[in-house]
């Protein structure tokens, strides 16, 4: 059509229709809004944020912002160790992190990548004060006024112009480090002139002021700063040109500069704390994992790791996850297969028995649904264990010697048997609903056309029941692949699934990133399966109950 259709009032028909429908749509949306919001808040958002953890890696950059910046230029192949500046940045980052008690968390995070870093960070955190004292004690001895917070406050606090950029920067630094708000009032603003003259000292003092004011709720004007400001000041004074400075404490600063007080050599100081700082290992690890987003968790999830030289396999003794994935899929397929074999005849009976008998049978099928999953699994434990019902019966009959009782639990056999039992209804019900729609006249027609019972079943009945098998299979497989409780209870070490590993990383090792990556892979596998099923069989054919 060349011209758009017009409604009676002359507006385009399409727009007129859209307007008329919008009200309806809005009303419908309002109706489902409570549920939608509920699902969004309690389901979608938590899952999304959990999955996001699989790539999120802000912790390194948040905890060691200046170190990451300094390390960027380091080439591990050309230089044995990062520069003194890097060590120095590391000192100030670590000092603040240690005061905020965040350095151990980072140590744990980096320990996922390189074993030993957790204890390195923890132990070094305790010794940072000693490094600071190398500068702090001489400064205090030289002039006791530097031991007094008021001296520092007078020096640093803004007089004419404040350095707002520095303030905002340090607020952000503390916020990122502590995951807390830092927007509250701080009774301090760095003086622009001092900040230009003594950049490092101003930076560290501001960070401290923001921290005590926003995190501890104290007034920085009346508190003594952390020892780290001393080395920062002495480092600044090594190069600062004080000739034009006439602000507060100008004389004291000049005196300190003239005294040429000692500044720690940070490389030596770190190596003194722990020899490992003198190797490339921790530095390479930090450098490799300093980006905001990382593929590291996903690589770990498939038994690989991210190193400075690219991706490589985990050491042999740490490779377990691919084995677990393969086992999960293989055992889920076995469970699915057993469910088909056991469920098909039952579904057939359900669909073909007279109503009364079929209802009774259906109740028997559904009965397990009304029993707690935990109870059913525990029941299998009673049945299958070596002193359990089945073994007792076998021994009593004489099929099995008393000292040769079968091991049927805490292995794959136990998991397969109990999960087949537990998931069987999910196979039977979709099969039943499909078989119900297959009219008996098809079988009669086949027989009247000369087919034997078997041919009639195989050529006519079975193909029509395939959508039911497909629906049941996909349901059982998806449920099985993510199963947790049953393998946990009856699986032992040989019969556990990937989900048990995820639970371990969530609740024991606290490596949530890896758990999220494993979960994402599982989710992706299920979605791909679903998609493939839709392509091959068509999801419209899936009928449940």
């Amino acid at each position: 059509m060349a011209e758009a259709m017009l409604a009676a009032d002359g507006t385009p028909l399409k727009r007129s229709l859209a307007r008329a429908l919008r009200r309806q749509k809005l009303r419908a949306l309002m109706l489902i809004a409570p549920l939608l919001i509920f699902v969004l808040i309690t389901f979608i958002v938590p899952i999304g944020s959990m999955l996001f953890r699989s790539v999120e890696n802000e912790m390194v950059g948040n905890t060691l912002p200046y170190t990451v910046e300094a390390l960027a230029e380091w080439d591990a192949d050309a230089e044995p160790l990062p520069s003194e500046d890097t060590f120095q940045a590391m000192f100030f980052d670590m000092f603040l992190a240690a005061e905020a008690k965040r350095h151990t968390r980072l140590g744990t995070r980096l320990n996922y990548e390189t074993t030993g870093l957790s204890s390195l960070f923890r132990q070094s955190g305790r010794q940072l004060d000693d490094v600071a004292d190398i500068s702090y004690e001489p400064l205090e001895d030289f002039d006791a006024a530097w031991d007094d917070g008021e001296t520092w406050y007078a020096l640093m606090n803004a007089r004419q112009t404040a350095d707002d950029a520095l303030m905002a920067q340090q607020r952000a630094r503390v916020a990122a480090l502590t995951d807390n708000e830092t927007n509250s009032e701080v009774n301090f603003a760095p003086d622009a002139e001092v900040a230009a003259l003594l950049p490092l000292a101003a930076r560290e003092y501001t960070a401290w002021a923001v921290y005590v004011a926003t995190q501890d709720g104290r007034d920085p004007a009346t508190r003594d700063p952390w020892e780290a400001v001393a080395p920062a000041l002495l480092i600044d004074l090594q190069t600062a040109d004080l000739s034009g400075y006439a602000g507060p404490e100008a004389d004291r600063l000049r005196a300190v500069q003239a005294a040429n007080l000692p500044v720690a050599n940070f490389v030596d100081a770190f190596v003194d704390m722990d020899e490992d700082w003198g190797t490339q290992v921790p530095w390479e690890t930090i450098q490799t994992h300093s980006s905001t987003y990382t593929s590291g968790y996903f690589l770990n999830a498939v038994d690989a790791q991210k190193t400075a030289d690219g991706v490589s396999w985990q050491p042999e003794d740490k490779q377990i996850l691919i084995t677990l994935f393969v086992r999960t899929i293989w055992m889920s397929l076995l469970i699915m297969g057993s469910c088909i074999l056991l469920g098909y005849p039952i579904a057939w009976l359900l669909a073909n028995l007279p109503m009364r008998k079929a209802n009774l049978l259906l109740i028997l099928v559904l009965l397990p649904f009304w029993t707690s999953l935990l109870v059913r699994t525990s029941a299998w434990k009673v049945m299958l264990q070596q002193q359990g019902v089945i073994n007792d019966v076998l021994v009593w009959i004489g099929l099995v010697a008393d000292d040769g009782r079968l091991i049927m639990i805490n292995n794959q056999f136990g998991t397969i048997v109990s999960m087949t039992h537990i998931l069987l209804p999910f196979m039977i019900l979709p099969m039943y609903s499909v078989m119900q729609t297959i009219q008996p006249s098809y079988l009669r027609a086949a027989k009247s056309l000369g087919a034997t019972n078997w041919t009639a079943f195989w050529r006519v009945y079975f193909p029509q029941s395939v959508p039911g098998i497909g629906a049941g299979s996909i349901l059982v497989f998806i449920l099985a692949i993510g199963y947790y409780i049953t393998p946990e209870i009856v699986g032992g070490t040989k019969g556990v699934f990937i989900s048990n590993r995820i639970a371990y990383h969530i609740s024991s090792s606290l490596n949530w990133g890896l758990a999220a990556a494993l979960g994402s892979i599982l989710l992706a596998a299920v979605l791909i399966l679903y998609w493939a099923y839709d392509k091959i069989v068509g999801i419209d054919n899936v009928k449940l109950g």
Binding site: S441, R444, A445, A446, S448, T452, T455, A456
Partner: protein
């Protein structure tokens, strides 16, 4: 094998009984004999046992008692797939996961017929129902009438000598049904197939069949060609079931050869032909077709009894007029008259005199 069996008895039911629950007989003492090539229709209300008979013949139900023979051989213990009987179902029962060609090929495959042979037979069968162009379609892509044609072709493709049809046109609209009725009859006669057709639609039964078996209460009430069935019903069930009928209740007054006099409940006397009444004083239900009633006495014999009737309603139906009268206390007495130029249109309220030839009025069991 047809040569060895007598032409008179290709399909035989002998004293067949069937009970599902051991308490009630669904089929009571069925005797039926069909010659080869006959088109026989089993007609009856639902629950009359006609479908059960068909299922016993097909082998899906076993007779509780009696013998069913096909070509002289008892088939009681032969499983359905060895009977070689083609069957058309009410819901077509085309296999939904197979194409039309595959559906037709199925009976040939299970008979292990070669591929080339199969394809030829399939195309020929499709040709019989003019559906060659649809070989590649799935049943779901066909209309109801097309599906029924395919079902018919599938029942014929393996060249059975006996074809059973279980209300095959029940789900179709009227016009399509009429077309297919004609096609089925033509095919059955052209191919010389013996056909047992089950329906509850009497028009279908009358137009298609060589003989019709009217079922009621587990028995064949009458087995006769369509015209005999309509014009000479043997009992009042058949008379009422087939076609439209006026019935009047009365008592036999006198029997004289093939005529009798009946005193109706209001006292008036009419002439009738005794069918299954034998003695004077017996209760009877006389039955007369609406189109055999005469208005006025012009064409009746002089001694014929007539009745006074009051016109209650006149309905113009195009080709015929339908007039409802009150006759002997019966308000539903209907007469049909041809829309001819000389035919008068009766106005409600007028009194007329009606009568009929004695042979058109049948005195049946009450």
């Amino acid at each position: 094998m047809a040569d060895t069996a007598t032409d008179q008895a290709f399909v035989e039911f002998e004293r067949v009984q069937k009970s599902y629950d051991g308490e009630n007989l669904v089929v009571k003492d069925l005797n039926l004999s069909m010659p080869k090539g006959e088109f026989l229709t089993m007609l009856g209300p639902s629950g009359s046992g006609k479908t059960t008979c068909l299922m016993m013949l097909a082998g899906f139900e076993t007779a509780t008692h009696g013998d069913i023979r096909l070509g002289g051989v008892s088939i009681n213990n032969i499983p359905p797939h060895k009977r070689g009987i083609g069957m058309v179902f009410q819901n077509y029962a085309l296999f939904p996961h197979m194409t039309v060609a595959e559906n037709l090929s199925f009976p040939l495959e299970v008979r292990k017929i070669g591929k080339a042979d199969r394809e030829e037979k399939v195309m020929r069968a499709l040709g019989m129902v003019q559906m060659q162009d649809f070989a590649g379609r799935r049943p779901a892509q066909l209309s109801g009438g097309q599906q029924q044609r395919i079902a018919l072709a599938r029942a014929l493709v393996f060249e059975p000598e006996l074809v059973l049809m279980d209300e095959p046109l029940g789900a179709l609209d009227k016009q399509l049904r009429e077309t297919l009725q004609f096609e089925i009859t033509r095919l059955a006669h052209d191919l010389g197939i013996t056909t047992v057709y089950v329906t509850h639609d009497q028009t279908e039964a009358l137009t298609m069949s060589d003989r019709v078996a009217v079922f009621d209460d587990g028995r064949i009430q009458q087995l006769a060609p369509p015209d005999a069935l309509y014009e000479e019903p043997q009992n009042s069930f058949v008379a009422q079931f087939i076609g439209e009928n006026n019935t009047l209740l009365g008592v036999i007054e006198k029997i004289k050869g093939d005529t009798c006099e009946v005193r109706l409940d209001d006292g008036s006397i009419i002439d009738a032909k005794p069918i299954n009444v034998t003695e004077v004083g017996q209760r009877t239900r006389v039955s007369i077709r609406p189109e055999r009633v005469e208005i006025g006495t012009a064409r009746l014999t002089p001694d014929a009894h007539t009745l006074k009737a009051e016109v209650l309603e006149f309905i113009y139906m195009g080709d015929i007029f339908r007039t409802r009268l009150r006759v002997a206390g019966n308000d539903d007495f209907v007469i049909k008259t041809r829309n001819a130029p000389d035919q008068i249109r009766l106005t409600p309220g007028t009194m007329v005199e009606i009568g009929w030839m004695p042979q058109d009025c049948r005195a049946l069991d009450a």
